[in-house]
Symmetry: C2
Subunit: 470 residues, 2 copies
């Protein structure tokens, strides 16, 4: 285990509140003296442990063996974008990743994307809306969709042979209603920060750099409430969200009992980091699945508490499993009531999501709530209300070493059986490969992919014409 | 001046940073010992003045002679909704305002909307997503659209004779592209808080209470970055936003020099509170104009800094007027360059907005940025880009004693002449009358309107059928 890994690990070992920890313990902190200290930034700024954020002056280093924004304690806001590559030129894509890396490094330090050179007759190097704001724990996590390797059967950039087997085309799951305009993309950027303006500012500068090479395809903004450090956040359904997340638990905690067997919490590192089995360049990378999950909040709010708890398999206020007393008690999947029915129902969300049911599948959840206004819904349940309803729900994001043994295995069962599906519909998302980190200040994101391969180049005129327009 | 007014006033007199003050000085604080003390909550919680928020445990009292959320120091998040009344029953509207008031009182204290009675076989009294979150300086500000008084010429509830002259139908301004689905409404609720989940939670509980009486028409979420207390916030155009807002200035500050005459900053109270001239029940009320202003950020980002500064009449980084050195220097509208042209251009945003140009018109701005994803734009400027662009900009909100002498007078000129109009389009909004506050814990919002008038009732069967469905 590298020293960076061990620094991030110690913060998880502090306890179950890791997901919502008050100060950031930077997973890739270069300052080893600070590593492992709980809330160094918070102490310096005089913020009490009661409040998690904001941490305006705290930064999370961009460089490291892994990308930041995965094991980094959850920030309050996210701005996620997927982009379509519009160039046929492989070197242009590589150059974009180099420019993006340079830019992201500056942004994550709380700097403008490029120095403001002061020439008043040029467009500003930076849009300026984050001037005076701190880094606010900004992380920028880049991803590659399948389209970088192969699109409509075409090896666009000469990278097809380097596509890892784990970068599958996601199957169509039961109930999927994915809208093309909120689905897929050749590249992804997830900016997370404790300030929404910092997150959007980062995405906007990066999109501008991509001009002529990649075009925004969809954006999803999301937030997490500022729960106290010791509390698991609640989602818009009012339930605690993330109790059994590997980052919230201590490795060795018993998560579930099933068939008399105990199931233990896994290590976050083992859950998320790929080993590069079939493609060595993917070592220290990961895979991210994003799902825009619309939740029918009006319908949910008219549902009896007892049924809400049956749906989840947990108590609403305490978060305890129906077989336990407090939030972190293990799920007893064997326990039955006096009629012999399982107390945690066969179709409950926690049972279907448990490693005990999925054969040990594990993911790291890093989800945000979203709230995008209203649109028309014709309800399929009494009293068959029709009208404008909240377009709100969960922007579910998870990381794993391999989506085939992670999200796909878990959600395949859930999509067919979960009681929650009455209230939630997947309406967008994608699968993105998360390349390893830069390794240090001299590297760039995607380097292990782009180096040592003959990139396919487009005729130069094509590209220069496009760039010259701006 | 009431003691509440004087308490809120003292906080403005602290200096120019009032808009972004760290802790809330509750405008209607019942505790006179605390009134006038700078940042009492911040001191108690150990938050340094550097950071404005969040203030999870701070609350702003709901009751008072005026509604909160107007002179309250700006929170970081807003969730605004407009609703259409779908009842024909006047007493049902009055009952809704009474229920909303009770609910808002609890929500602003950080409580669930109603006690959780624990009957598991009923839908929960509260959706639960704010359990464990503090009040986060939540304010809930209710508004009445013209449709409460008269719709399509019909006096729906017997309130037509009580419509104040100031509640005009907004004129169509030059360039308006208002989308019906984001415009108007019979009622409005603006929830503002330092946590987006707290703001949305409040709106969701209130909308649920309205079931059968009023239906959501549109929602707009917005945010303000967490700038340091001493700094004027920047909007998405990267310019400081609100330098000349009455709440940011000291009464008596010189704002502008024009024709050799000095123009002074007004008092926020005089700007916002109506005196109830033609309708006595409106005393201590206000008028709110909301405008959803889409800003073409991609186009703006390709514009030279010098032209951006010409558009605003201010420097981008410092916020100083083009005729001054620092942000709070007065606008010298008389100053000319060596060719005799005004330094602050005839079509600049600050000149057109200045009381010197508008004949003394004043408003209190309380705007939020919004960021609602992407949609298709065919640009009308070189290089005539077509494609997906940010649906982002400013959710402009202002308060005034009378919109005819406030927003309408200011924006009429701006809509025709402002250089900014190349980059911004008004795509939604509305005018809402803000009734006075409850006056105290026994009152309700709208009481002075609904009491002492014969409300028109619908046949009882009509209403009870609708309610019984739930």
């Amino acid at each position: 285990m590298s020293s960076n890994e061990s620094a991030s690990r110690r913060s998880f070992l502090k306890g179950a509140g890791g997901l919502a920890a008050a100060g950031a313990v930077c997973p890739f902190s270069g300052a080893s003296a600070a590593a492992g200290t709980a809330m160094p930034g918070a102490a310096a700024k005089g913020i009490t442990p009661e409040a998690r954020g904001p941490s305006r002056s705290e930064s999370v280093p961009f460089d490291g063996p892994f990308q930041a924004g995965i094991l980094t304690p959850l920030q309050n806001h996210t701005c996620f974008v997927a982009l379509d590559l519009e160039t046929e030129d492989g070197p242009a894509v590589k150059a974009l990743m180099q420019r993006w890396t340079e830019a992201a490094r500056r942004l994550c330090r709380g700097q403008t994307v490029a120095p403001l050179d002061g020439d008043p007759d040029k467009p500003p190097a930076d849009s300026g809306d984050a001037l005076g704001l701190g880094p606010a724990r900004l992380t920028i996590t880049f991803g590659f969709g399948a389209g970088l390797f192969e699109k409509n059967g075409v090896d666009r950039y000469g990278l097809k042979s380097r596509r890892p087997a784990a970068l599958i085309d996601l199957p169509r799951f039961n109930g999927d209603q994915l809208v093309p305009g909120n689905t897929g993309g050749d590249l992804s950027i997830q900016a997370c920060a404790d300030d929404p303006q910092v997150a959007f500012h980062a995405v906007r500068q990066l999109a501008r750099i991509a001009d002529g090479v990649a075009q925004l395809r969809w954006i999803q903004n999301g937030y997490n409430a500022q729960f106290a450090a010791k509390d698991t956040p609640r989602n818009l359904m009012g339930f605690k969200d993330g109790t059994q997340n590997p980052i919230s638990s201590r490795p060795g905690d018993v998560h579930a009992i099933c068939g008399g067997k105990k199931f233990y919490s896994g290590s976050p590192e083992k859950v998320v980091w790929a080993d590069g089995d079939d493609q060595g360049w993917m070592r220290n990378g990961s895979y991210m699945v994003a799902r825009r999950i619309r939740i029918f909040l009006e319908h949910w709010d008219r549902t009896a508490v007892s049924f809400q708890e049956e749906v989840f398999g947990r108590r609403k206020v305490s978060g305890a499993p129906l077989t336990g007393k407090s939030e972190f008690d293990p799920l007893d999947l064997d326990a039955t009531d006096k009629d012999g029915n399982p107390i945690i129902g066969e179709n409950s969300h926690v049972r279907l999501g448990s490693a005990a049911t999925t054969g040990g599948a594990e993911i790291l959840r890093r989800a945000y709530s979203y709230n995008d206004g209203l649109n028309f819904v014709a309800e399929r349940w009494p009293p068959w209300h029709q009208g404008l309803e909240y377009d709100a729900g969960l922007f579910f994001i998870c990381y794993q070493r391999d989506p085939r043994s992670g999200f796909v295995r878990i959600y395949d069962g859930m999509s067919k059986l979960d009681l929650l599906n009455q209230y939630a519909t997947h309406v967008g998302g994608g699968l993105f490969l998360i390349p390893p980190g830069t390794g240090g200040p001299g590297g760039y994101i995607g380097q292990s992919l782009f180096e040592g391969v003959a990139l396919r180049a487009a005729p130069a005129t094509n590209l220069s014409k496009k760039s010259a327009a701006y």
